[in-house]
């Protein structure tokens, strides 16, 4: 949950606050969880709503992507692999509308249907965003777009 929120807000301290508040809310509302098997998506929904609440309440400062990597958090610091650092930088540069479904799919292992449920959108739209997210990452990392790849 912390990783998801971090990748959504790009701020470790804020992510920790949001997760803490989300867990408190979840604890208070535990009776509303009818199906224990749905606990994960239930928690994710709470966390995403809490993050949205925080963004509504506060005028949050813009996070500079370079400084987020270079000076923000030890968790982002990669010493063993420059390619990981490049990837993190590329992910941070993605618009949140692409980043969020990608994180849900790759990190949390959610299916397209589950992501669609979380984001309250249709499955085709989710698939389009996932496709576009990978296209953008690929272009950032290799400089090659799928169109160019197709021509090759």
């Amino acid at each position: 949950m912390l990783r998801l929120v971090f990748w959504l807000c790009r701020d470790r301290a804020l992510a920790e606050d949001v997760v803490q508040e989300s867990l408190l809310r979840a604890w208070k509302a535990i009776d509303s969880l009818a199906d224990p098997a749905a606990a994960r998506s239930w928690l994710l929904t709470i966390a995403r709503r809490e993050l949205a609440r925080v963004f509504e309440r506060r005028r949050l400062p813009t996070v500079d992507i370079d400084s987020a990597i270079e000076s923000g958090d030890a968790a982002l610091v990669v010493t063993e692999s420059p390619e990981l650092e490049d990837m993190r930088r590329a992910i941070l540069r993605l618009d949140v509308s692409y980043r969020e479904p990608l994180v849900m799919q790759v990190l949390l292992g959610l299916t397209a249907e589950e992501i669609a449920g979380q984001l309250d959108m249709g499955v085709p739209a989710v698939l389009t965003r996932l496709f576009r997210a990978r296209q953008l990452l690929r272009k950032q990392l290799t400089g090659v777009s799928d169109d160019e790849d197709d021509r090759a």
């Binding site: 912390l2 990783r3 971090f6 990748w7 470790r12 301290a13 400084s67 270079e70 000076s71 923000g72 958090d73 030890a74 968790a75 982002l76 610091v77 692999s81 390619e83 990981l84 990837m87 993190r88 992910i91 990608l102 994180v103 799919q105 790759v106 990190l107 397209a112 989710v126 698939l127 389009t128 996932l130 496709f131 990978r134 296209q135 990452l137 690929r138 990392l141 799928d146 790849d149 197709d150």
Partner: protein, 225 residues
């Protein structure tokens, strides 16, 4: 399924294991390379996303610009505090003179004396006690001055009456030094006291000497300031 359809499907779900995907990959070398590349990229994405949640938070990089800003704030605060501490003293003298002027009619030589019970009432809640008969008080009033009710006295000395204000809430800003002033026809002195200050004003009477006498007559309760 053509190559474009294949790439759109695996581009959104690289690990989708369907018959159509397998068949196309088996028939198209280019799309197989594309699929493998996507899967490698997905592994990298997963590793990149899996940040170490237990990693200690690093202190945020503070740029020189912020240090300069912080330094200027500190300088402004120190300077402001210095000016603030210096200016009220002049203002206090002016206010003392203005207040004494407002009750100038009480500043007269007289043999009248205030009853000890009335004196006690004036000093009530001030945190200060005046020992009865230690000085000759001809006028006593509890006055609103700079945010507090404070004892205002007229004390008769051998060389004339003086106005005394007992100000336990005022902060001394000149350490143990006395501060003399002249304003509105008054000569005055502000004297550090065990709590706050004591102010004595007069027209001709020796204010410093009177202040010493009054201070000796006052008992300051500890912890009342």
């Amino acid at each position: 399924m053509n190559c474009l359809e294949f790439r759109r499907i695996v581009g959104s779900q690289p690990h989708l294991d369907s018959t159509e995907v397998r068949e196309h990959a088996a028939a198209c070398e280019s799309c197989t390379r594309y699929l493998l590349e996507l899967r490698r990229m997905d592994q990298l994405i997963y590793r990149a996303l899996t940040i170490d949640v237990d990693a200690p938070k690093r202190s945020r990089h503070v740029s020189a610009r912020y240090w300069r800003l912080a330094a200027s704030v500190v300088v402004a605060v120190v300077l402001g505090a210095f000016l603030w501490s210096a200016l009220p003293r002049a203002s206090l003298a002016e206010q003392l003179a203005a207040h004494a002027q407002g009750e100038a009619s009480a500043l007269v030589r007289t043999a009248d004396r205030i009853e000890p019970s009335d004196l006690a009432a004036v000093f009530k809640r001030s945190g200060v006690r005046l020992r009865p008969d230690a000085i000759a008080v001809s006028y006593a009033m509890s006055c609103w001055f700079r945010g507090h009710f404070v004892p205002h006295l007229v004390v008769q000395t051998d060389r004339g009456p003086v106005t005394v204000l007992v100000l336990p809430h005022e902060r001394t800003v000149v350490g143990t030094q006395l501060q003399h002033f002249e304003d509105g026809g008054f000569k005055g002195v502000i004297v550090p006291a065990p709590q706050g200050v004591l102010a004595v004003l007069g027209r001709d009477a020796p204010v410093e000497e009177a202040a010493a006498q009054v201070l000796l007559a006052l008992d300051y309760e500890s912890g009342s300031n």
